[in-house]
Every structure is written in C-alpha cells, then in structure tokens.
C-alpha cells in the first residue's frame, strides 16, 4: 500500500445504451479522468449478473463498478429496476462476508452524462486507491490452519430455551390416522413422514405405501428433516400421489415450491402438523425460537397439538445477536471470520442436497462450460461456492436451516441465510414461503426500491 507505483485494477460492467455511450462521450469530449477502469459492455444492467462481479473479484480486480441507465430510461423498460434489487442484496451479502463497501460500487450514468461518468470513475478510483490492494486475494489460503482473528471467538449460541414438546403421542396417532385413511382411500400412493432412525435420538425420512405401515410413522422433537425436498425426487414421486407430513417450516418450503411451479397443488396432500419446535443438542433449535408457523401456513389435513405451547418470543432469535456482533466488526475482521468458516468447506454439497429449493437438474457449481464456480476446494473456490449458494437462495430461502444442520464442517450457513432474510424483509416487505400467489422479490421491483448506495 505504501507502493507509490501501485494502481488499482477496476472492472466496470456497463450497459451499452446509457453508461457505455456516456463513457464514449467522455472520450470523444477529451475529458481527462483516471485510467484504471477496464470496461466490459453488456446489453443492459439487467444482464450484469452477480456471477460476473464474482469472476472479476476472483481474477484479481481491486474493485468493481456497475453502471446502467437511470430508472425509467432502461432500453428494455425495467432491466435496471430488476437489477437494482439483485445489486442491493448481492452487495449486502458481500459486505456481510467482509468485503469493503467501497470495492463494489454502482451508478446510473446516462448517455449524456460524460462528466458524471468521469466523476464517478475518479471518485471510485480514489476510494479504492485509498484502501490499497485487495487483501489476501479472493479467499485466503487458510486451509487447516487456525487464525487468531477476534471474530473466531464468536461461538455458536444455541437456543437457551427448553423444549415444550407438547402431546407427541397424540400427534403421532393423528398423523397415523390420516396417513392410513389416505392410503386406504387411494388418495395417496405414498406417505412421506418420519420413522425411527438406526441410532438413538435420530429419526429418518420414511416412505409408507401400505396402510399397515403407518404404525412406523413417528412424531417427536427430533423430526428435523425438511421432507418437502422429496417432492421433487422421482424415486419418491414414482410411488404414487404423495401425502407429506409437514411442520410449519416444511409447509413454507411447499409454498415456495408451488410459487416456483415445481409441484402441483392438486398432486400433493399435505398433512400439516402443529409443531412446538425441534431439538438441537437437547435444546430448542435456534430457528424455532422465533417461529411464527407453529401451525403450518398450508395444509389439507391438520394434526393439532392440544398442548401446543408456543411460549413468548421476547428473547428473540439468538442468531440476530450473532449477526449484530459480526456487523459490528471491521470488514477485515468479518472477512477473517468467514474465511476461517469457509476454509473448512469440503464441497460435499450436503447443503445443496438437503435444500428443498435446490432443485436444479444441474447445479451451476457442476457446470464446466463456462466454469462459473472454481472447482478447486481451496479458499477461492470455497468462497465463491458459498456466495453462489447463498445468493441463489436469497429471497427464496424459507429458513429451515437444514443446510446448516447437515454441514459436517459446521459452517454457519444459518447466519448467512438469516441475514439475507432480514434484509429482504426490511427492504421489500417480503418473507418467503407464506404466499404462493405473490412474485418472489428478486423477480420484481417497485419504483421506490432502495437505491441509496447507487451513485
């Protein structure tokens, strides 16, 4: 940073109609400005996907500038307005992971604003020059090494509340009764529910196809799996019309699957179960502490828990305190925290496999032409993979936290999911998995959407 010869490398992704024309005008007008920006021209800011921005950082850019038409001026009517929401969420995600906000900037520059373009470039260049070269590259080489970052002392805070299990036996009977009826009448060819696992205190997904088999269905505070993941799995759906046991959070996933046209409402029977919360390490799971779907938002049959005690939620979500603690750190400290987390990633993709909303036939992480996600399981590849996973879930994640539960490396994916869910709730008044008839937040826009970060 003390090197006077150092010049930042900044990649600018611009739309061809406004900003590129503005930059062109700056050139033909012979306006002098900082020469550190390399321009990549795209048809519309709506085409400037977060993957492009990631690639620029991956390959060593010290900063990235994104610029398009002013709202209302888009050549394709609303490309920039849709992009604005994506940029908002993506920017906040990267800042949460420890990127300095100055390194990823946005502007609206019209074809006539040659002067504004040069001012933006000068200002962005000055800020990035002041920051110096991006530390440690994209992802620190920290595999299997311990770092002594302050952030490392942030330990997982499990829920402190005790479980109030309710009347599990009665609920279990209720589930069996409805399951038996569905199988006997032929309304369902298979019931997807919970059975006893092979180890103590473990349940397992169970597929029951005969009425006699319903006695194997169980209900207790260890029914953690989100079974809705099986509704898009052919080995299960081939057994016939599906009847599925769904907690509130599972039903939210069903809502999201309906919303995204992955399942048909009249081809699934939902056995909703009132749920008082699930256990993790003998305590109420963190995500259950602020549950507002003890009664599922969507069901065909409801199994009530007569002793359901939803308690008071004054304590709030323990993860919100962790998120606040992380956000109080400096970007460098947050970066160190997440690098230490992601260094443990072994790319087993269990997070992807258990996610009801990760239903893509071929995941982008498995694509090689082009190779969007670096395939090496190193700091760089792991960082990009975790960003791609998180961003793809933004505005879609229903917060079941199955990904965090199954991660063998205990990476705090739940904090990332929660952070994005809070952001989207606050910015767009949207929470995933409650209403299948509204448009998901990143597929729509409002003229008054947040834009305070755009120059």
């Amino acid at each position: 940073m003390s090197d006077d010869n150092w010049r930042p490398q900044i990649v600018a992704f611009v739309c061809q109609w406004c900003t590129y024309a503005g930059a062109d005008l700056a050139g033909t007008s012979r306006i002098k400005y900082d020469p550190n920006v390399r321009i990549v021209k795209l048809p519309c800011s709506g085409r400037i996907g977060p993957l492009f921005l990631l690639k620029a950082f991956e390959q060593g850019a010290d900063g990235v500038l994104v610029s398009g038409c002013h709202p209302g001026d888009c050549h394709y009517v609303s490309g920039n307005l849709l992009a604005r929401r994506r940029f908002t969420v993506f920017r906040e995600l990267l800042i949460f992971l420890g990127l300095e906000p100055e390194r990823l900037q946005f502007s609206w520059v019209s074809a006539a604003e040659a002067v504004k373009w040069t001012e933006v470039v000068d200002a962005v260049t000055a800020q990035i020059r002041a920051l110096g070269p991006r530390r440690q590259g994209w992802g620190a080489e920290a595999r299997l090494q311990t770092s002594n970052s302050k952030a490392q002392s942030l330990e997982a805070q499990p829920g402190t509340r005790n479980l109030k299990p309710g009347t599990q036996k009665a609920v279990e009977e209720g589930i069996r009764r409805i399951a038996r009826q569905l199988l006997q009448t032929g309304e369902a060819g298979v019931i997807v529910g919970y059975g006893n696992g092979t180890l103590k205190d473990v349940t397992t997904p169970l597929f029951v196809t005969e009425p006699e088999g319903v006695e194997q269905l169980v209900w207790n505070e260890r029914c953690l799996n989100n079974l809705s993941v099986y509704l898009t799995r052919e080995p299960v759906t081939r057994l016939g019309r599906v009847g599925i046991v769904a907690k509130g959070c599972d039903a939210r996933a069903l809502v999201a699957l309906l919303q995204e046209h992955q399942i048909e409402r009249d081809k699934v029977t939902i056995i909703g179960v009132q749920c008082a919360g699930m256990a993790e390490n003998g305590r109420l799971a963190a995500r259950c502490a602020v549950c507002d779907v003890h009664t599922p938002p969507l069901y065909d049959h409801l199994v009530e828990d007569r002793a359901l005690d939803t308690g008071d939620w004054a304590e709030g979500d323990p993860r919100d305190r962790e998120i606040a603690a992380l956000e109080a750190l400096t970007p460098a400290e947050r970066w160190a925290y997440w690098q230490e987390q992601f260094a443990r990633c072994i790319r087993c993709y269990a997070c992807r496999a258990v996610c009801p909303l990760c239903y893509c036939e071929t995941c982008i992480a498995d694509k090689t032409q082009p190779q969007w996600v670096p395939p090496a399981f190193d700091a760089r590849g792991n960082l990009s993979w975790n960003i791609v996973r998180a961003f793809h879930q933004a505005g879609r994640c229903i917060g079941c936290d199955e990904c965090a539960r199954v991660c063998p490396a205990h990476i705090r994916l739940d904090l990332i999911n929660r952070k994005l869910a809070l952001l989207i709730r606050d910015a767009y008044g949207y929470r995933a998995g409650y209403d299948a008839t509204v448009a998901p937040p990143l597929t729509t826009f409002r003229p008054e959407d947040r834009a305070e970060f755009i120059r």
Binding site: P235, Q371, G381, P408
Partner: protein
C-alpha cells in the same frame, strides 16, 4: 519387531512436548468448536485426549480434499508448466484411532496398486502414525463387525493402548515406529509384554453394533438387480458427506481450475453418490439414479474391494452413519443385503 514398552501417564506429555521441539511437525487432536480435529500443535496444552474419534478421518493429511498436481501459464503460443512444491518436513500424527489407521493401510494398497502415487506415498513415508487404542466406542461404531477391533494395530507405526494406572502399552509395528521409539527411548520403560486383551474385551463389550459383516457380500446377478437397492436408497439425497468423512473412500477427479492466463490442475475428492461421477460427455449416465449409485458405494466396500484386495473397504468408524443428513446407515444396509443373499448373521 514386536517389542513392547510402557509409557507412564506422566511421561506422555513430556514426550509430546519434546516431539514438539524436534524437527518433526507434531499433529494431534485439538478442540475446534464442538469438534475434535487433527491440527498442527502449537502448544502441548492444546492437545486433547477427550474424544471418541476426530471429526474427520486422518486421510486428508495424506490425500487432501483438493491437491494441485501442476500449474500452467500460457506463454505466447506455448504453455509453461510448474510442478507443485512437494517439500515436506517429517511429521508425527499422534492419537489416530485404530479404525482410521486401518483406513490408511487400505489407502496404502490403493495408492500403490499400479505404480506409486507420489503425492500420497511421499506424505506417508514422511509421517509416523502413533495410534491410540479406543476404550469407549460410540453407539455408531462397528469396527468388530468388519474384522477390526478397538485396539487393532493395522496402519499404525506405534500403537498406544491405555492400560489404566500403569500407563500405555506401546507396540512397535514398523521400522518408522522403531525409529521414533529409538530416538525417544528414555521416555519408554522396557517391560514385559503385557497383554492388551482385557482392554480390547472391555471396549468391545461396550459396542452395541456387532454383526458378522467381515465375510463381505457375495455378488450375484440376482443381488445386483434386487429391488432392495431402490428401497434403501430412496431417501438418499446424493450429497458427498459419506464419502468425504470416510477413512477409506479414495475416489478423485482431475479438474482444471483455469482462467484466461493459465490455471491449476487439481485432484479433488469425488464421490460415487454424485450424479456427475458417472455422467458421460454425451449426457448418458450409466448410474442414472441414487439406487445404482448407493449400490456402488456398498458393493465397492463389501464386494469389489474384498475380491481384489482380500479385505473390506470399511473400517466401521461410523462417521457416514452419524453425518448422513437422512440417516443412511451402511451397517444396517450391509446386514439387509446379506439377508437377501441368504447369509445368517447375528445382531
């Protein structure tokens, strides 16, 4: 080579402290959040002996999840190659459980089957494994079912077995182990060769999973095509956890991580549970669904590998059972398949 020594409990820490000061790099179990993992030791106080087993098997220290095998840069019309840095200091890994050590013995066979794998073998020859017998197996453990035991010595260079107040019985199993013992002989009391049988029996008595799986699965067309595979694999979601926590799984993929200027060719762990594992360039996939993939996993461990190498490719550590998101249980599956095959087994 079967000379026995004893290591007094109070001498263990002294010995580890001296190892830490030596030119060898000491790697030992340490706390990481709620887990215990193998890490290079900074101070002896960080080492813990309070673990049933480590979160990850020790295999990653020999066969890392992702390993650069060469780097390349485009230069004009040619390509400039760079070999990876293979320099490695001698290492001691302390506290390896017998199941994980046995996993190394299996990997030794694989990585030296047709030619020597220089990446793996170099790390093996530079590393001395100090095994630590297991006295309190977990509910998911089943090493005795696959022909091992909580005090088995395969794969270790030295094996310590806790013998109560008397300290640790030290078995010297290889020349590398002998070398280490010779260098630090003053910590080890020469004594009569006490039998570890009582310790073994006590540990085995604590194991709830004891089925006879060691004979492996005898493959037949009927068994291969049997509907049991679709049944047991129906809940499998196709992630790679089971393979990646397994001490013996060793499949890898060679991929180029590249950009416009060059790249790294790396060897990444791979898993037969992934659909990509067998997908052809044409798009055809000979293992189209999870049933055939999971069958491959089970049969590789219990049939194909034993046919070729004369031993199972499962050491009964139970990690795949406890880490599976949906409670796929290879112990239960092997029993069920043997039942289909018509073999009687005790539970």
């Amino acid at each position: 080579m079967m000379a026995c020594r004893m290591l007094r409990p109070e001498k263990l820490e002294e010995w580890l402290a001296e190892l830490l000061r030596s030119e060898r790099r000491l790697i030992a179990p340490q706390r990481q959040g709620e887990d215990v993992v193998f890490q290079p030791v900074q101070t002896v106080d960080d080492i813990t002996l309070d673990y049933i087993n480590t979160r990850w098997p020790v295999k990653a220290w020999f066969f890392p999840p992702s390993e650069p095998v060469l780097r390349y840069r485009y230069q004009g019309s040619g390509v400039e190659l760079e070999q990876p840095n293979m320099a490695l200091e001698p290492r001691v890994i302390f506290g390896v459980r017998p199941c994980d050590a046995a996993g190394l013995a299996i990997l030794d066979q694989v990585f030296n089957s047709d030619g020597e794998d220089e990446f793996y073998t170099r790390r093996r020859t530079m590393t001395t494994i100090v095994g630590l017998s297991c006295t309190h197996p977990a509910a998911s453990c089943f090493c005795t079912s696959v022909g091992l035991s909580p005090t088995a010595s395969a794969g270790s260079d030295l094996l310590l077995t806790p013998m109560g107040d008397a300290g640790y019985l030290v078995e010297t199993l290889t020349a590398r182990g002998e070398q280490l013992l010779w260098e630090y002989g003053h910590y080890f009391a020469a004594g009569e060769c006490r039998s570890k049988e009582a310790v073994t029996e006590a540990a085995e008595a604590r194991m709830s999973r004891q089925a006879a799986l060691a004979q492996g699965i005898e493959l037949s067309e009927r068994l291969f095509e049997h509907p049991i595979w679709a049944e047991v694999a129906r809940k499998c979601l196709g992630c790679g956890v089971c393979a990646y926590v397994c001490p013996t799984c060793h499949c890898f993929d060679i991929v180029d991580d590249s950009d416009a200027w060059g790249g790294v060719r790396c060897r990444n762990w791979d898993s037969c549970g992934f659909s990509l594992f067998t997908r052809h360039a044409s798009g055809h996939n000979p293992r189209p669904q999870q049933d055939s993939r999971y069958r491959q996993r089970v049969l590789h461990k219990f049939s194909y590998f034993p046919q070729r190498w004369g031993r199972l490719m499962c050491v009964g550590c139970g990690r795949c059972v406890t880490n599976c998101p949906v409670n796929m249980d290879i112990y239960a599956t092997a029993q069920a398949v043997l039942q289909v095959q018509g073999v009687k087994h005790e539970t």
